[in-house]
């Protein structure tokens, strides 16, 4: 699904990622943990393609699996017309513009979702969903189809439909913003979700709802998740297959879920000294 090799990234000419390598297969959930300043958010932004996060070395290959609803397989010769559509073809993620990365199946959950006054959530999401579909050579969703989809996903995240009619994130609490991110993820139906501190700002109930949402939306054989988090608590709800520790721009240790628990008990310093 995602193969990152020796990724180096600078922000304002300052090296942040210093040779990060990571492989994520379809069906897996990975967690990246690390102290402040380790480069966690930089990794998310570099993979999302944000201006100012310059990749100076290394590669990121994205191979989005074909969506189950498409049927057929590349081996059977049923090739789809768009390279963003999952022909089991490797895509050089770093060559794509941010909106093309989204169309190819990448979703970035923001640590601080942006407020956009004057634009309703629902209008924005319908446009975004249809822009992605157009880029993949798929038919646009009608108003009715979209509303049905939105209602279903909002229900999954226990979010009031009224909130979807309000301007994007304006006046939302921290928890509501994160929940809105997950509703967006549900509607856009990505192959790979990179969730940057989605657990911050959530109380314990919201954490459970968001955790459930991630499982329901993203736990599938043709999908994968990269959770970026400070704390172990989200991992109680979304069981990772692998836990990586990021320090000083590199993955310094990889383990199973037990590594997160050990980290919580012993702290970063102890673990990193051992590594």
């Amino acid at each position: 699904m995602l193969q990152i090799n020796n990724l180096h990234t600078t922000v304002a000419d300052k090296p942040i990622l210093k040779g990060l390598s990571l492989a994520i297969n379809a069906g897996e959930v990975h967690a990246i943990m690390g102290p402040n300043g380790a480069g966690k958010s930089t990794l998310a932004y570099a993979l999302g393609g944000r201006d100012g996060y310059d990749v100076t070395e290394g590669s990121a290959a994205f191979t989005p699996p074909r969506h189950s609803r498409e049927g057929g397989s590349p081996e059977e010769g049923t090739e789809l017309d768009s390279r963003l559509r999952g022909n089991d073809e490797e895509i050089d993620l770093l060559q794509l513009d941010p909106h093309e990365r989204a169309a190819a199946g990448l979703f970035l959950g923001f640590q601080y979702p942006v407020e956009i006054p004057g634009v309703s959530n629902i209008q924005f999401l319908r446009e975004a969903a249809n822009a992605q579909r157009e880029a993949r050579g798929e038919e646009a969703l009608s108003g009715g189809e979209f509303l049905k989809l939105a209602r279903e996903k909002a229900g999954l995240l226990k979010m009031d439909m009224e909130m979807l009619k309000r301007p994007v994130n304006v006046g939302f609490s921290g928890g509501e913003k994160k929940r809105n991110e997950m509703v967006q993820m549900g509607i856009l139906d990505p192959r790979l979700a990179i969730l940057d501190e989605t657990d911050s700002g959530l109380d314990i109930d919201a954490l459970r709802v968001v955790g459930d949402g991630i499982n329901k939306i993203m736990r599938a054989p043709d999908k994968a998740v990269l959770l970026i988090t400070h704390y172990q608590r989200l991992l109680e709800y979304v069981q990772p297959d692998y836990v990586h520790i990021l320090a000083d721009g590199r993955i310094v240790r990889t383990g199973g879920p037990e590594l997160a628990k050990q980290l919580e008990a012993e702290g970063y310093d102890a673990i990193m000294e051992a590594a």
Binding site: G48, G49, R50, D51, D97, P98, H99, R101, A102, A103, F107, L108, F110, P113, V114, I116, P117, G118, V119, F124, L125, E127, A128, A129, A131, Q132, A135, P167, Q184, L188
Partner: protein, 260 residues
């Protein structure tokens, strides 16, 4: 850049020259400082301004959508009269809308305007709002967007006469520049000769927020569409109260689509 100032006590600021000189103006005339004088030359001499009188207790609602050129209106509101003007100034090489408004006791004036200038267009709104008697209100909301070598200007003077107590006036001017080569001029001015008034004025000039644009792009919106959506949000609501509000909003949107 964000400058906001509000005044609620007696204050005098520099006086603006009369916006309607009888000789051909130059850039030394304050009200014509940013005008496209070459374009003006072809239009000179200007016809007499349109004079509108709204009698005591009366009401006026009008949309002004010039095809370019100079539009001059002298508007007088009688006691307790109301007027609401909606302006979309975006057509022609040079478009200038000039309003000289006189408010009598408890009159209520509202101006909601959008100016859009692309290529080498020059758009300006020049207003003088005179609070002649007590208790009148005036609200001006201006949203400007300029791209390429476009230029947008708002020069607005609010003059509160001696004895015009309980005047309540507001000038809210926001400008958005889409390119480094575009220009925005904003000059809200107050001239106050009464001591019990509320006069607020604010002017900001900014550019589209890069973080918000990335957020929209990360959801799959192509850059031009993301910009258009942000600009749509920027002018949202300005025409809500207008007659044929949808038609005005659509005209503005279609022009915005060409600008990004």
């Amino acid at each position: 850049m964000d400058r906001r100032a509000s005044t609620s006590s007696a204050l005098t600021v520099s006086t603006m020259a009369s916006p309607l000189p009888t000789r051909r103006p130059t850039h030394k005339d304050e009200a014509w400082r940013y005008a496209d004088l070459n374009a003006l030359e072809a239009l000179w001499p200007l016809p007499a301004p349109e004079a509108i009188m709204v009698p005591a207790g009366g009401g006026l609602k009008r949309a002004i959508v010039p095809e370019g050129g100079v539009t001059q209106i002298e508007l007088t509101l009688g006691k307790g009269a109301q007027a609401s003007l909606h302006v979309l100034n975006s057509a022609g090489d040079y478009g200038r809308v000039e309003l000289d408004v006189k408010l009598h006791e408890a009159a209520d004036f509202t101006l909601d305007a959008v100016q859009l200038a692309s290529e080498s267009q020059s758009m300006e709104i020049v207003t003088t709002v005179r609070h002649l008697e007590p208790g009148a209100t005036s609200r001006q909301t201006i949203r400007n967007i300029a791209s390429a070598k476009g230029s947008v200007t708002y020069l607005g003077q609010v003059a509160v006469a001696e004895g015009a107590q309980k005047t309540d006036s507001e000038q809210d001017v926001k400008s958005m520049l889409l390119d480094r080569t575009a220009t925005a001029n904003a000059k809200p001015e107050l001239e106050i000769f009464a001591d019990d008034v509320q006069c607020a004025h604010g002017a900001t000039v900014g550019e589209l927020d890069a973080g918000a644009l990335f957020y929209l792009a990360s959801r799959g919106l192509p850059p031009a569409r993301a910009k258009q959506l942000m600009l749509q949000a920027f002018v949202a609501g300005v025409f809500d109260e207008a007659e044929e509000a949808e038609k005005l909003a659509e005209a503005a949107l279609s022009k915005l689509g060409e600008m990004v």
